[in-house]
Symmetry: C2
Subunit: 226 residues, 2 copies
Amino acid sequence: MTLTISAVEGLPELREGDDLARMIAERADLLDGDVLVVAQKAISKIEGRIARLHERDKVDVILGESKSVVRRRGDLIIAETRHGFVCASAGVDASNAPEPGTLVLLPVDPDASATRLRDRLGELTDHDVGVVVSDSFGRPFRQGTTDVAIGAAGVEVLRDLKGERDPAGYELRSTVIAIADEIAGAAQLVMGKLDRTPVAIVRGLDIPGDGNARDIVMPAERNLFP
Amino acid sequence: MTLTISAVEGLPELREGDDLARMIAERADLLDGDVLVVAQKAISKIEGRIARLHERDKVDVILGESKSVVRRRGDLIIAETRHGFVCASAGVDASNAPEPGTLVLLPVDPDASATRLRDRLGELTDHDVGVVVSDSFGRPFRQGTTDVAIGAAGVEVLRDLKGERDPAGYELRSTVIAIADEIAGAAQLVMGKLDRTPVAIVRGLDIPGDGNARDIVMPAERNLFP
């Protein structure tokens, strides 16, 4: 089995209302089963999810995006977003913002954003592709960020191996693989952080599905780190 | 930029003392700059890191591999391993074990395991490759596991973007990307969990480096979830 992961090159700086699906379709030859990974910032920009700092303080913006504050130390706020994601600054970020003095917020409903992009790509290209919306999240016990899925459409998100058996016949009792997070992280390897390449195509997976990234959120009753 | 990720097919069931580098070199045409991702279980098997259950209880084995227990609920033990990794059961696992009644333990020093494999591959193929040893870890706030790096040699592990600027000139103050974890997760997408494909080749990254996976461990003073 071989996967290829390619950045979609030459996208312009994105603005509110842009038809990102068309921009992608013009620059990439898609195939059925491809998974498009789109950086959250690209989605937020076309959806106008931008806050102006002169109206509010950055901390106010972060708290406005938060359901709860999970940990706080100095400038660092680990918050639970309204979607249930736990991440630094509730996903609010100044880097790669459209202009100084603005902040990019997470999409209101990234699963719906992924579905819209997928449907529009289907219209334009006649191909059935999956879409993952990715963002860079830190992790409690490991340094650095990895990209994870905050939105998904048309792909497998969590693969449950329960009841399947390994080659020795041992039942894999509780193995669930967060496939969509691994796809997001894989795409980050070609997207970079500084270059303007917010879209990558993962080809060869062939894992159609109907999971939502929201399904990845750990339910409160199973959260051992409240 | 395009990456390809391919499983190395046809590896036999591994045993203690096997020359895994030779087995890989016989089945794959390596190139300079390739990164080989090897599942922890493959390394543990060739290094004889197997415990027999009739000698001890599984919980005893887990505690023996642990520096501390971070959380415990029912059968679930989240432990800090002697390497500093925080994961379920201190990485002790019965699935894909060599035979019933045995458990596979993490390698004693997975960074050293990666270095040995890299050096041996260099000897056999004359190619300068990177090696990542991967394992499937759960995460506090997200369901499912993703594969992460528990060992590394000859590759960049953490990419620090501090001081670099985004296209708008905004300085990325504290962005560190856990590249090696994203590589491990990407490789998992082709390795599967049930098939006997514990080795994958990631081609196209070209990120030589000298990081250790141990560097990814969050220092105690920065751990907000003790």
